[in-house]
């Protein structure tokens, strides 16, 4: 009977068999001895013993059978019986399985995403020691600045707690200029990058530090994906010469796909080279590169960070006073962030939040299933009592419950996995937009294990609860029909009631979370972008070749703009050196002339964008004061005119006109009296996306003719009509120039919201499931209760209770529990909603409207869930109810 013994029998079958053989041999020997004592000759005595015993092997087999047969039989019987029982109550089984499938599906999906994006280690040895290094100026609101070449060289020579450093920067180029020019993205990377990651070339070789110097750097390492896409995985590609942006490069190697886990939009790598000026000591404060480092094994990140800080302290002593002031004002420090954490920074909070939501759903589902099982156990009380009276042990009944739970949980888990698989296929189409470094998310072994474990735990939970409440059932009472005629046992009812309260509370917390996100989203959508979204199309191009003269650039540039203007439907065309919209525009320190009133300790900062005359007009950004740039402004060297936005003017020149004020972008090179002056103020617009509410000051610099720029075209025609025309016009000027990053500004704005939209929909879906589950739970509990109390209600009606009174009786019972759940839920939400704060937009985490609205909505749903059973109660015919027993 004991589980342990059965398990032991299964495991030690060989030993047990050997023991049995021993035992029987002893029996034979003893019999032989007895025979000898009785006077038989030894040989005959042994033979007689054999005969008396019978077939030894057959006896062994019979004994063995007892052991095995019972073990198998119990389980087979339990499963058969459970299967039959579950089939008999198909509605119940379906409800449980669907609930579990929803819960397990949601959890498996989110765990898979969480694991795939955040928890899964990168495919490099000791990847937790890989960090990205930042120059941080937290007090100037610039916490994540890049790193310079002198810093890299200094660290490489002097920071011995690190196994290595590698410099990295984006490198864009035109490729396939002969046929269909396209803009490619690669990286300029120092040769130590490959050692840092510990990867080996798939084909050919990687370059060395000797090739990271100007003149020797015309070599390329392809990434595996790019090699497959552009070269059809041709192994003879090594040694081939390709033309990128008019320059010749030799392909020397192919890097394995694991490298793409570091940066997936990189299609090829070339040596990072630098002119001597960039390595000069004063260039230390011109940070332009991403710096990766590997901390030596066993060295704490804090110790490694402290070492870099010491080196920085030494460099600071030698810095010019103005630089030192900038560093001190920003409270300069060096920051090390794990690479994987850095890549997934944008989604980490959302994902953890979603995981929390999914766990809530799982909890709710378990509660619901437990409640269903409880009701079922209660309804089966008589059956269980009969079985117990017939000799089934408590253990056997509990085992029976467990097997039922296991069957349900397995079916639910299987369905849930299917659901997760489907959801992941949908989610994978979005992840690329959020975190590109991660390959498609799959349900991998670890996650599968977690799911199965969850299923077993759920099975235990849903089996144990009813088993516990029926444990000490009064047999006699149940057999006498107590289980049928009177109300359900008090304890079971109390447990069911508590579960319903918990459910309502959990659902409310989730709904409030989703409600807050939805309100935020609608707020975001209502934001006025400050420019004309619907009628502006953007497109970017880079033309030319190395060594192109400024005159040639200017004539090509002018020609391109002139041709674009010929396109019918193009009303205005403006240009910018950057991107018209960008979620990450880096801030630059700007020394302002004179003191900054009221902010003595804070370094003034602003985002900078170069724009052409007419840019604001094309975008539809109103000019508030002063004038737009003129053609003369774009050619004047040094620059003499700036335009700033309203945020800038308000922040740095409060209460007066900004026109005529002067400032310099970046570390000062010119004497302040030659700094450009502000000639115009434009309205602030959402150039960083609708979600941006940092009121970042923006300064605009006049943009002259340049070989790389974005066009913003104001047009009444849709983007899909205009863009092919623009491409044709561009080709007519320079057939090798690609047109890229093209599309309507509206699409770009929408794309920038995809993260927020995704989180909102997912949490909304979870909240919807939660609402459904809690409504079903409430309904189920009351409906069951009404069924149990049919006789009581009959008596009440018989002695004069009106239908209204009966309805009120049931409603009161349900709504009291709902109210208790709402109370608990509000407390929980008040406590938990703070974790949502980073995702909220102009909505407070304790927004009373959301709280009230959600609680009201949930109450209505609860009322409906209570009203259905209440109506049934009111229809109870006293005579039928009383006669039913």
């Amino acid at each position: 009977m004991s589980w342990l013994r059965k398990l032991r029998a299964l495991i030690h079958r060989d030993r047990i068999d050997a023991e049995m053989r021993d035992e029987m041999r002893h029996h034979l020997e003893a019999q032989t001895q007895r025979n000898v004592q009785a006077g038989m000759p030894p040989a005959e005595a042994a033979y007689a013993a054999q005969r008396q015993f019978g077939n030894v092997a057959s006896v062994q087999e019979q004994a063995r059978e007892v052991r095995r047969w019972v073990w198998l039989e119990h389980w087979a019987r339990d499963f058969r019986f459970s299967g039959r029982a579950l089939r008999r109550s198909a509605g119940f089984s379906l409800a449980v399985i669907t609930t579990l499938a929803l819960c397990i599906g949601a959890n498996t999906t989110i765990i898979s995403v969480l694991y795939g994006l955040i928890l899964k280690p990168m495919p490099f040895r000791d990847s937790s020691q890989l960090v990205q290094v930042f120059n941080s100026l937290p007090k100037s609101n610039r916490p994540r600045e890049r790193v310079s070449i002198p810093q890299y060289l200094d660290y490489k020579a002097n920071a011995d707690l690190f196994a290595g450093f590698a410099l990295w920067t984006v490198w864009s180029f035109n490729i396939d200029e002969e046929n269909d020019p396209e803009r490619g993205v690669g990286a300029r990377v120092s040769a130590d990058y490959f050692d840092l990651l510990g990867v080996q070339p798939l084909l050919g070789r990687f370059y060395t530090m000797e090739e990271c110097v100007p003149g020797k750097d015309a070599v390329l390492v392809l990434t595996e994906t790019f090699w497959e896409r552009k070269f059809n995985a041709d192994p003879t590609v090594i040694g081939r010469v390709v033309r990128l942006s008019g320059q010749q490069f030799t392909i020397i190697g192919v890097a394995p796909r694991s490298l793409e886990a570091f940066n997936s939009d990189t299609s090829l790598l070339k040596p990072l080279e630098w002119p001597p000026a960039q390595a000069a000591p004063q260039a230390r404060w011109r940070p332009n590169f991403t710096l990766y480092a590997r901390i030596k094994p066993g060295v704490a990140h804090s110790a490694a960070q402290a070492q870099l800080m010491t080196l920085e302290q030494r460099a600071r002593e030698a810095a010019p006073p103005a630089t030192r002031q900038v560093l001190d004002q920003g409270a300069f420090q060096t920051v090390l962030n794990q690479v994987r954490a850095e890549q997934t920074r944008a989604v980490r909070t959302s994902l953890l939040l979603l995981q929390g939501g999914a766990l809530f759903v799982l909890l709710l589902g378990c509660v619901n299933v437990a409640n269903l099982m409880l009701a079922r156990a209660n309804a089966r009380k008589t059956e269980l009592a009969v079985r117990q009276a017939l000799g089934a042990g408590q253990g056997a009944l509990a085992r029976q419950m467990l097997v039922e739970g296991l069957l349900l949980a397995t079916a639910g888990a299987a369905l849930g996995l299917g659901l997760a698989w489907g959801s992941l296929r949908v989610i994978n189409t979005y992840t690329a937009a959020i975190v590109r470094e991660v390959a498609p998310i799959t349900i991998d072994g670890t996650v599968l294990g977690v799911t199965l474990l969850t299923a077993v735990l759920v099975a235990l939970l849903i089996a144990l609860l009813p088993a516990l409440t029926t444990w000490r059932t009064n047999l006699l009472f149940a057999l006498q029909g107590g289980g049928r005629s009177a109300s359900a046992a008090g304890r079971a009812r109390a447990a069911g009631g508590l579960l319903v309260v918990a459910q309502v509370a959990l659902a409310l917390v989730l709904l409030i979370g989703a409600g807050l996100l939805m309100r935020s989203f609608s707020r975001v959508l209502k934001v006025d972008p400050g420019f004309d979204v619907s009628r502006v199309v953007q497109a970017r191009t880079v033309f030319g070749y190395p060594g192109m003269t400024q005159e040639n650039i200017k004539s090509t540039y002018d020609l391109i703009i002139a041709r674009m203007k010929e396109i019918p439907g193009v009303e205005k065309i403006g240009r910018t050196g950057g991107f018209p919209l960008s979620p990450t525009m880096s801030l630059t320190a700007i020394p302002l002339r004179g003191s900054i009133p009221g902010q003595p300790d804070t370094q003034a900062t602003a985002a900078g964008l170069t724009v052409s005359p007419g840019f604001f007009e094309a975008m539809g950004i109103p000019l508030l004061e002063g004038r737009d740039f003129t053609e003369a402004d774009t050619t004047a060297m040094p620059r003499r005119a700036y335009i700033v936005d309203e945020n800038f003017a308000r922040k740095y020149f409060p209460g007066r006109s900004a026109i005529g004020e002067a400032f310099g972008f970046g570390p000062p090179e010119l004497p302040p009296e030659q700094w450009p002056r502000i000639v115009g103020v434009v309205a602030s617009s959402k150039l960083f996306g609708l979600e941006d509410n940092t009121n970042t000051p923006v300064g605009f610099v006049a943009m002259g003719p340049t070989a790389g720029f974005s066009m913003v075209v104001r047009t009444s025609r849709p983007a899909r009509e205009i863009i092919p025309l623009m491409r044709a016009k561009l080709r007519s000027v320079d057939p090798a120039a690609p047109l890229y990053h093209e599309g309507a500004l509206q699409d770009e704005l929408d794309y920038m919201l995809s993260n927020r939209r995704g989180v909102m929909w997912l949490l909304g879906a979870f909240a919807g499931i939660a609402l459904l589950l809690s409504a079903v739970g409430l309904y189920g509990m009351l409906a069951y209760d009404v069924m149990q109390r049919t006789r009581e209600i009959g008596i009440r009606s018989a002695i004069g209770a009106t239908r209204g009174q009966v309805v009120r009786l049931i409603l009161r019972q349900g709504m009291t529990k709902t109210a208790a759940g709402l109370g608990l839920g509000v407390i929980g939400a008040l406590f938990l909603s703070r974790y949502l704060e980073t995702l909220l937009f102009e909505v407070r985490a304790t927004d009373p409207l959301t709280f009230a609205g959600v609680a009201g909505g949930l109450s209505l749903v609860a009322l409906l869930a209570c009203w259905l059973p209440a109506r049934r109660a009111a229809k109870v015919d006293p005579m039928v109810a009383l006669r039913a027993e």
Binding site: M1, S2, R5, A9, E19, M20, D22, E23, M24, H26, H27, E29, A30, Q31, Q33, F53, G54, N55, S58, V59, Q60, Q62, A63, R64, E65, V66, R67, V70
Partner: protein, 112 residues
């Protein structure tokens, strides 16, 4: 369920009870037990080994008896069985039931 099987089960139940009874006095090994059962029934019952050993396995699994390796009189390793506390309780129960069953059957047989 076939009648044959019912009969077998009935016999099985009786054998279990008799084994418990025999072991109640002192722990015994399989051979000794066979001898004792034969002796107790005054040679009426010839216990089949094919019934005895499976019964021992079954009783041990129920936790009513306990088998342990010891040394026999002949200084040979042998498996000795003893009755556990639950086994004693079970024996009392079976004795009561047996008494009830046999008296009932006797009464029924006497009735015309």
């Amino acid at each position: 369920m076939s009648t044959e099987k019912e009969k077998a089960e009935l016999l099985q139940g009786t054998l279990d009870m008799l084994i418990l009874k025999a072991l109640q006095l002192e722990p015994m090994h399989g051979f000794g037990l066979a001898q004792r059962l034969k002796q107790m029934s005054a040679d009426v019952f010839q216990v089949e080994m094919g019934s005895l050993y499976p019964a021992l396995v079954r009783l041990e699994k129920q936790g009513w008896i306990k088998g342990e390796w010891g040394t026999s009189d002949a200084n040979r390793k042998a498996r000795y069985y003893s009755v556990t506390a639950t086994g004693r309780k079970q024996l009392e129960e079976e004795k009561t039931q047996w008494a009830l069953l046999s008296s009932t059957i006797n009464a029924m047989l006497k009735a015309t």
